[in-house]
Symmetry: C2
Subunit: 404 residues, 2 copies
């Protein structure tokens, strides 16, 4: 149960690597790290769990997404720390440590792509690939003050990425500069020519703004004013119920839909392994896993159906040309070690997952932009578009929004 010492001064990496590119391409000269649930040939993949790592031999092939990056000119410089079974949003690993939040060193980096965010924010890499099911790319991007993209569900190949929640999980990208986010995402998405559709409507998800801290709300309004002035667009506030044409609260996306799908899928994948192998589990994960073990799968199927209805309604409201905006997280990063009571955990997770579950059930591409600062700590402002409109979203952000 002791903490491994990380090889880098920022505690972001499991190990340094130096895997050169195999071809030239649009990522020439860039360096990237890989979250430790994505296979790198010849190196064991830990999934954030020493027990998992020791039970599984090193893969003989890279994940397909790693090969895509190496073949586009990028150099792999490290394997980045992940939370245990990537089942966390905080980035405090009992086994691998807490990667340094570069802009707020006394605060958590966010997780589960904690090492990915920290390796980028501390300058070890230009970009990193992580995974995001409930916010694991977007939350650390927001809390560390970097760019983060969760692409549309299933746009990027998950071959060689550890099985987790097939109906929810995506490979995502984190980067310090938008240019690197854009270039790496387009390689992984296998993007064609840039889309002709221009940004026509900028919606603002009011409920998401309102559940955020007052200081975050003020920053959102200021940022939208700047965006409006640059783009000429008038941001249009819209309530979730109005967006989907049904009188239900935004929190239903998490509490009555995505959370149950996630738990059911987690049981059917990692849950089977844990129940049959009975590995050593970390304390924080054990607490969370208690809910998984006692979960009523059959009762949850109603939520699983609801996910599909919400997907349809959210996407009907987001045609090409429309972007919807909201804070990535409702708060700045909590202080390290402060998530030590059930109340503190819930105060962080519940409103955060209310925001992240929106794109989760919508299967939307979402980009967290490092545009907000509260008490000298970063918070992301997120932009989402309809399912499979990843290239439109990248172009809309590139063309129309202020840069950090």
């Amino acid at each position: 149960m002791t903490q491994s010492s990380s090889p880098d001064p920022f505690g972001a990496l499991v190990e340094y690597l130096d895997i050169p590119p195999v071809k030239n391409g649009p990522l020439d000269g860039t360096r990237f790290t890989v979250k430790d649930n994505i296979d790198i040939a010849g190196h064991r993949t830990s999934y954030g769990s020493p027990a998992w790592r020791d039970a599984h031999p090193a893969p003989t092939h890279n994940a397909l997404c790693v090969d895509q990056l190496l073949a586009a000119g990028a150099r792999c410089v490290g394997k980045a720390i992940a939370d245990e079974f990537t089942y966390s949003l905080d980035g405090e690993s009992q086994f691998f440590g807490t990667p340094c939040n570069a802009r707020a060193p006394d605060r958590i980096p966010g997780g589960s792509s904690s090492g990915s965010a920290a390796s980028v924010a501390n300058g070890l890499a230009d970009f990193s690939i992580g995974t995001d099911s409930g916010g694991s790319v977007r939350v650390p991007a927001s809390l560390c003050g970097i760019w983060g993209m969760r692409p549309s569900l299933h746009r990027i190949s998950e071959a060689g990425v550890l099985p987790f929640m097939p109906g929810v999980s995506t490979v995502g990208v984190l980067a310090a500069r938008f240019e690197h986010l854009d270039a790496a995402a387009r390689v992984l998405l296998r993007s064609g020519p840039r889309p002709a559709v221009a940004l026509q409507r900028l919606l603002v998800l009011s409920d998401a703004v309102e559940i955020s801290d007052m200081a975050v709300q003020e920053q959102v309004h200021a940022a939208l004013k700047a965006i409006a002035s640059r783009s000429g667009l008038v941001p249009e506030p819209i309530r979730f119920a109005q967006l989907i044409g049904e009188d239900i609260p935004l929190s239903d996306c998490n509490l009555k839909a995505l959370r149950d799908l996630q738990t059911a899928e987690f049981q059917s994948t990692v849950g089977n392994w844990i129940e049959t192998v009975q590995p050593e589990l970390g304390f924080t994960f054990s607490m969370a896993y208690g809910n998984v073990r006692d979960f009523d799968r059959i009762a949850a199927l109603e939520s699983v159906v609801r996910c599909e209805r919400l997907f349809e309604r959210i996407n009907a409201a987001l045609p090409p040309g429309t972007v919807i905006c909201f804070p990535t997280t409702p708060v700045i990063a909590p202080l390290k070690g402060s998530l030590n009571t059930l109340e503190a955990v819930m105060a962080f997770y519940d409103p955060t997952m209310t925001l992240t579950a929106f794109s989760g059930v919508g299967r939307l591409p979402e980009i967290s932009a490092p545009l907000l600062t509260v008490e000298e700590c970063p918070v992301g402002l997120s932009f989402a578009a309809g399912h499979y409109q990843d290239e439109f979203l990248l172009a809309a952000v590139q063309a129309s929004l202020p840069r950090a």
Copy 2:
């Protein structure tokens, strides 16, 4: 290397089961079987490989799709034989035997969902769930003369389904009657109310018809005439190049796109396990796996990109209201034991995969209907629609086409 004896007279099952429904629902009174790469709690999943089965403990949870069916009123009556690692289209397993093709007992049933098709065609179950990456639901449905549906990529949860090719694999349904196919698919798809869009255009993929056996071609034309008379629609022949607006042959969908994506993803999933564990492999699979082992992943990335372009172009040509039709397989089932030379294997696989790869790269829902008979053997006629238009496709088939 000896063949296990199947518990049923048709050689379709690994074991009989009797798992009662957990709730009432639209599948009340129906019986289903489950392909042996989909988890059933408490029973080892073999993946068609005794080595895999013996190396992995029995899962503690059902796959999510199994729970969906049990909670909709269906009873699970058996675990159905699958080809080794589901990496085959023929259904002749060295380890588990060759399930009986009910309508052509001297011929192969097709695979890899061989036991699923045989359990349905021989009346052991009303429907079965299988998986389809390169045709593993559609081909046995076609060769055994039953209905088979490969839904849109990622519409059905793959949690608890063994990892295979995440960018290609789907859970699918096989049934003797359309009503059961429709009802089971709608439960798994979590379908909402039936769509308002009616069938407006019926395209016929000319290249797919032309590479089929002459007798199959004649049957296709006769069936289309009957469909035209019933639906009032005029079938519109269209070439692949015309459909996508680029002068490339239909065979590119397989040879220059999907096949390389499949192989790269297979390497990153099952390939890793085989390379590190070195399990006992069957003869037929060993031959096929030789190509996987020597595969150039980096060169294949061009094909992986091409998949995305073909996906975009195919779907641009298939808006709601449009269905495209073609033979599911270009031939009737080969005789058992006849695929014993490289020439015979290629003569069956190459044209068959040219047809199945179309919906594969398009991520399309495709329904194989048991409408054709050649030399007293069945062949399927397939109907496909745009990505995510599964409910439209089911409704179009239900409303406008003759039934078997």
